[in-house]
């Protein structure tokens, strides 16, 4: 890190929002750094996101959430096409199990229409069971929303960051911001444990720690309330269970426990919603699982806990007020806070990026567009190729013929690609390739992946970690 580096913009936090802003700004002639305290991008809350691209009927009209959700939703086809990230507009059903819930469906529909959400309609009986046959017959009616979709949140975050990097953004990983101070000329001094950075504009997209970053600048304007959500993933052989994202009638603070047909072909059930005070508590709980199973079985009785192959928890960075906080700091010019980005944060991300660019412009940042931008590289996904395409590929590079992850059919070639893309940890490879996400949860592929990492990165096996600092897989050699 050179002390003389003065960036135009530093973005703190490489979650989906930070990465999206970085990529958006990389179309302009700017010197940008994206600073992330974890070992890889997206390793905070983003990787635990449920991946649902919401329509916007859950949000109160006039709120930032409502506006940015609807706008963001409409941007997703183009965004994912550009990034070569799978995105499926599978639609959603909000399901009413009792007659008294029917008027809530009507309210949601009206709210959605006010927010300009297209295509909402109430369906019932045969129409409903035709499109979603495994629903309990106790369902009275459902609100159908065709614009709801699913995406892989970590795939998206990584693709955003990688495309940003292709276009000149410097990504600084394992770099934690310790303090922020200011010079008289308005430059921000960002102190990290790896050195000091100088920047004209500072964007705080630090998720769970956005309040702590803000406080470093003397801004106590908001507090982040961590809200834990547990999710459980079912075996791919159950993928026919639902075709749409299934919502229950929403609760006060949350959209409820969902049944999600993920874009990768697994069914995911969850999340829970539990306010906690520990920003590091990512524990799944017996109670959480019980609660989720109880709720989803009411809607799709065929769901069985024997089909669970993976689980995880994430912490939403909720704001006390409930809406997004996206605004320039009242105290310091050129410092933008983006905080409280819980649901529908993923959906809103591209719209948030546009909004932040406008705010920065308003704060004096000159946005001069580059003549051209590097398009996102189209990385190979072996399992999606036809046998003939596979054959061609292996002829060019025989590493694509060596299947390393048997459950998800991931080849050595793709592992090497992931490392080229920036993967430095096992999870980094997992999130880019799906190797290790199958039924055997890495039982077969882990030693093979680690050997490839050892060769490509020139590091000893015992230094390889699951997700960075301290999460080494092995202790050391036996002799």
């Amino acid at each position: 890190m050179k002390r003389t580096d003065i960036f135009d913009v530093i973005i703190i936090g490489a979650g989906v929002v930070g990465a999206c802003i970085a990529r958006f700004l990389s179309r302009y002639k700017l010197n940008i750094a994206l600073v992330e305290k974890e070992a890889e991008v997206g390793f905070g809350t983003s990787k635990a996101n449920s991946g649902v691209i919401h329509a916007g009927f859950h949000d109160r009209p006039g709120t930032l959430k409502a506006n940015l959700c609807v706008t963001g939703n409409s941007m997703f086809d183009k965004l994912c096409e550009e990034l070569n990230v799978p995105f499926k507009r599978c639609g959603a059903l909000v399901v009413a199990l009792e007659n008294k819930e029917l008027k809530i469906l009507e309210k949601l529909k009206a709210q959605g229409e006010k927010n300009k959400v297209p295509g909402l309609k109430i369906i019932r009986d045969d129409d409903l069971f035709q499109i979603e046959p495994n629903l309990t017959r106790r369902v009275k009616a459902a609100l159908y929303s065709p614009t709801v979709g699913v995406v892989s949140p970590y795939e998206l975050t990584m693709a955003l960051a990688e495309n940003a990097k292709q276009n000149g953004v410097r990504i600084l990983l394992d770099t934690e911001v310790k303090n922020v101070t200011f010079q008289d000329n308005g430059a921000k001094v960002v102190e990290t444990q790896k050195g000091v950075l100088f920047t004209k504009y500072l964007v705080n997209a630090a998720g769970l720690f956005a309040d702590e970053i803000a406080r470093m600048t003397g801004d106590n304007g908001f507090t982040i309330v961590p809200r834990k959500g547990e999710e459980y993933i079912l075996d791919k052989k159950r993928k026919e269970l639902v075709k749409h994202v299934i919502f229950p009638i929403p609760q006060r603070q949350t959209k409820g426990v969902l049944i999600i047909p993920t874009v990768d072909g697994n069914i995911m059930i969850g999340p829970t919603s539990q306010v906690i005070d520990d920003k590091f508590d990512l524990n799944t709980t017996g109670k959480g699982l019980q609660m989720i199973l109880e709720k989803v079985r009411k809607i799709v009785p065929a769901i069985n806990d024997r089909d669970i192959i993976a689980s995880f928890a994430g912490l939403r960075a909720s704001s006390e007020g409930g809406d997004f906080i996206i605004q320039p700091s009242a105290k310091i010019r050129g410092f933008i806070n983006i905080a409280g980005i819980d649901s529908p944060g993923l959906t809103a991300a591209p719209a948030i990026a546009m909004m932040v660019a406008e705010i920065l412009k308003g704060e004096g940042l000159k946005l001069v567009q580059k003549d051209s931008c590097q398009p996102s590289y189209r990385w190979i996904k072996f399992r999606e190729l036809s046998p003939e395409q596979k054959e061609e590929l292996i002829k060019k590079d025989k590493r694509y013929g060596n299947v390393v992850c048997r459950c998800e059919n991931v080849t050595e070639g793709e592992i090497v690609d992931a490392i080229k893309r920036g993967a430095r940890t096992l999870d980094g490879i997992k999130f880019r390739t799906r190797a290790g996400m199958g039924r055997c949860q890495g039982g077969f592929c882990t030693p093979r992946i680690m050997r490839i990492m050892m060769n490509e990165l020139n590091i000893p096996l015992e230094k390889i970690t699951k997700r960075g600092r301290g999460s080494n897989i092995l202790w050391g050699k036996t002799k």
Partner: protein
């Protein structure tokens, strides 16, 4: 795309697949092709460096590699048996066509006259047990830890807790201790150990490793690397008893909590699977519900002795060769076998009642002084003790039983003497 023809194609070059290959060759198959995803022959045996293999088959006490070497040496001498290592099968279908890939040859298709499925099994994971807590590094299935220690030469950690007292877990308790780790406890949910008594003695008692019966791991602690597990006693319903939790600091958790036959390829090909075994329904010739596709070894049912795996492999290989040569007779009759009292699983599930049949049986609960009963005592055999972790082989001489022609179903059960 490159196409290869074979009389018999065998998926898996472990003890089941190798035995099948030799048997198919002996029976006269023209070309036998064996495929394996590993880098050497033997399947799981190369990492099973402990002894206890071959006591029945060879009347010797061999280590896994020594047992495998017997078959490997013989396979090497047979020109008609070809082997492709580091090869993964992507797909099989009911026409006995196999789509496979490796780095050297790329994607290729095998048109075989018969198939033998010998893919073995995989291990149950933490997620399948729904153990709550965090997701730190340091959690391994016992078999994966065995691979690290015995093949790669790495110690997964230094302070170990093992969940599950199945043989793999017990063996690893000893192995890790000998390599310098401290095994703090083996935790077992049942009131009896899951593995052989010999292993409880030689792997735990020899090293004073505590065996906590009727206990389970209730929580995993640790942010980046495992720091501790919570362990609690369980009641008769296998639920943790509140107040009995204690925390055991450790940096490694090994899971030896069950094996699952690896039937993804079988299911994709529409082969009928028996939910009680997790493997294909087979007859006494080890043929599955698809004509010309045979199966043997752990892919059919989890075995505890490799000797039985080889035995099944021989039957499957022989019949696969006969089928490929057009010499396999259709069975004159078909009898479905039902699981009676105290029978958890039973292989084969279908028989034609000609000649001797070797059954491979697992019971649900331990019992002493019982008899195995076929039908309403058409055939019986005394047994001093049956245990869930010890598979029973039972040879029934169907040709001597003089069953009525109209018998379509028979029950196998365990009854008190």
């Amino acid at each position: 795309m490159r196409e290869i023809k074979a009389d018999v194609a065998i998926i898996g070059a472990g003890p089941a697949g190798l035995a099948a290959a030799l048997s198919a060759e002996r029976e006269g198959a023209g070309e036998v092709l064996v495929l394996d995803r590993g880098e050497e022959l033997g399947g799981i045996l190369p990492q099973c460096i402990h002894n206890g293999f071959g006591l029945h088959r060879f009347k010797e006490d061999l280590t896994g590699p020594e047992y495998a070497q017997r078959f490997i040496d013989e396979v090497k001498t047979k020109r008609k048996i070809d082997v492709k290592l580091k090869t993964i099968v992507l797909e099989i279908n009911q026409n006995k066509e196999v789509l496979a890939t490796n780095s050297e040859e790329g994607i290729f298709k095998i048109r075989a006259n018969s198939l033998v499925l010998a893919m073995g099994c995989r291990e149950k994971t933490r997620e399948m047990l729904h153990i709550p807590g965090s997701r730190p590094a340091g959690i391994f299935t016992a078999g994966l830890a065995q691979q690290w220690v015995n093949l790669e030469g790495y110690l997964p950690g230094r302070e170990v807790v093992i969940l599950g007292s199945g043989d793999v877990g017990l063996i690893m308790a000893r192995r890790l201790t000998l390599e310098g780790a401290e095994v703090k406890a083996v935790v077992e949910i049942m009131p009896y150990p899951g593995g052989l008594t010999r292993n409880v003695v030689q792997c735990l008692q020899d090293f004073d490793i505590p065996l906590l019966l009727e206990h389970t791991v209730t929580f995993i602690h640790g942010k980046d690397r495992l720091e501790a597990v919570s362990v609690a006693k369980v009641n008769s319903k296998k639920e943790p008893i509140p107040g009995t939790e204690k925390i055991i600091p450790c940096d490694t958790l090994l899971l030896s909590v069950g094996l699952i036959p690896e039937n993804e390829l079988s299911s994709l090909a529409g082969i009928e699977i028996d939910p009680s075994t997790g493997g294909p329904v087979v007859d006494e010739r080890m043929q599955t519900s698809v004509e010309g596709i045979f199966a043997c070894g752990n892919v059919v049912q989890i075995n505890d002795l490799v000797d039985y795996v080889s035995q099944q492999g021989e039957v499957a290989g022989k019949n696969a060769a006969l089928y490929a040569l057009g010499k396999l007779e259709q069975p004159k009759r078909v009898i479905n076998l039902k699981k009676g009292r105290n029978i958890r699983s039973l292989v084969p599930q279908i028989i034609s009642a000609q000649g001797k049949v070797s059954f491979f049986i697992r019971v649900k609960n331990p019992e002493q002084k019982v008899k195995l009963v076929l039908g309403k005592s058409i055939f019986q055999q005394k047994n001093p003790i049956v245990k869930p972790n010890q598979m029973i082989t039972w040879e029934v001489p169907f040709e001597d039983l003089r069953l009525n022609d109209d018998v379509k179903e028979l029950e196998v059960s365990i009854r008190k003497l």
